[in-house]
Symmetry: C2
Subunit: 177 residues, 2 copies
């Protein structure tokens, strides 16, 4: 294989290897690793290049505990939780209808970067659920024009985590439905 | 570097190298390449593992022309257009509030896979814009519970396409906003 083919295969393999990791060891995630994750997130595409994503990096136990509202209780046990937030309107107050798509693309980049570093992470949704957004808004002091889109706890994987095989040719149509 | 480090760097480099490509050569995209893109898309995470994504692969010129409604006119000039659609409710009619997030994650995986193969692609939004969704619904004959989320034209890049540097530390907050 050429260097290009090796690189290409590494990308495709990592996309297939990414899995949701919900338990973590005590090993810390370094600031350099967090920066690598955020650099990947910010490389996502965004509508009209608005880059409406904002990130809150949380390591303090009491704040992580406030973010862990039930279904996402693993947030409290991860060394780091990254809250991906979205700017829902531009400075003149005009709504940005692309902010959820842009934040989702940034989140997927972040998850793939975590997988590539050997870290474990999982996408836990906040938006559009009020009962999930409000605790994050309060815990982080988010301003009115910023909504919490999702929270990604990150750590070193504990236990055995395997990716699901989700390939399903029935989900593909050709030319028309 | 170890093999693992080389693979990790390839993933991070591809995430940074991905760019929106809007002009394409006449070189076709092979069915094997399309399958690789769709395998990557289907490896995305989804809420409760519902996998609400559906894909329509369009190569017929008249259909591509119907999908090209203005802002996304490059669709007509790409060898292939992949329409990423979402199942907006489960079979018992209960709305799936995660379908847009899941389709967005699948789209980002698809774009990264295209970059890794040396192909050029761009995310053109349909949802939530009625004037963009209706032409796709009509051209493809989508059923009521399926919405077109976005359309990704794919081809071999023409001209010089460079990724934007979007790294912005001001978008990061620590512990609180």
């Amino acid at each position: 294989m050429t260097t290009q083919q090796i690189a290409s295969q590494a990308v495709l393999d990592t996309i297939q290897a990414r899995k949701s990791v919900r338990s973590y060891t005590d090993e810390p995630v370094t600031p350099e690793q967090v920066e690598t994750l955020l650099r990947a997130a910010m490389a996502a595409p965004s509508g009209k290049n608005v880059q409406p994503w904002r990130f809150v990096v949380v390591t303090q136990p009491e704040t992580k505990q406030k973010l862990a509202v039930g279904f996402n209780k693993m947030i409290a046990t991860a060394p780091v939780a990254i809250v991906i937030c979205g700017l829902t309107a531009n400075p003149s107050g005009i709504a940005n209808n692309n902010w959820t798509a842009d934040c989702a693309a940034a989140t997927e980049n972040l998850l793939l970067a975590a997988e590539s570093l050997g870290l474990g992470a999982v996408w836990t949704a906040c938006y559009p659920y009020d009962d999930r957004m409000l605790p994050a808004i309060e815990a982080l002091g988010l301003p009115d024009n910023i909504k919490p889109y999702c929270i990604v706890p990150v750590g070193h994987p504990a236990g055995d985590n395997k990716p699901k095989n989700k390939w399903n040719p029935d989900h593909i149509h050709y030319e028309k439905w």
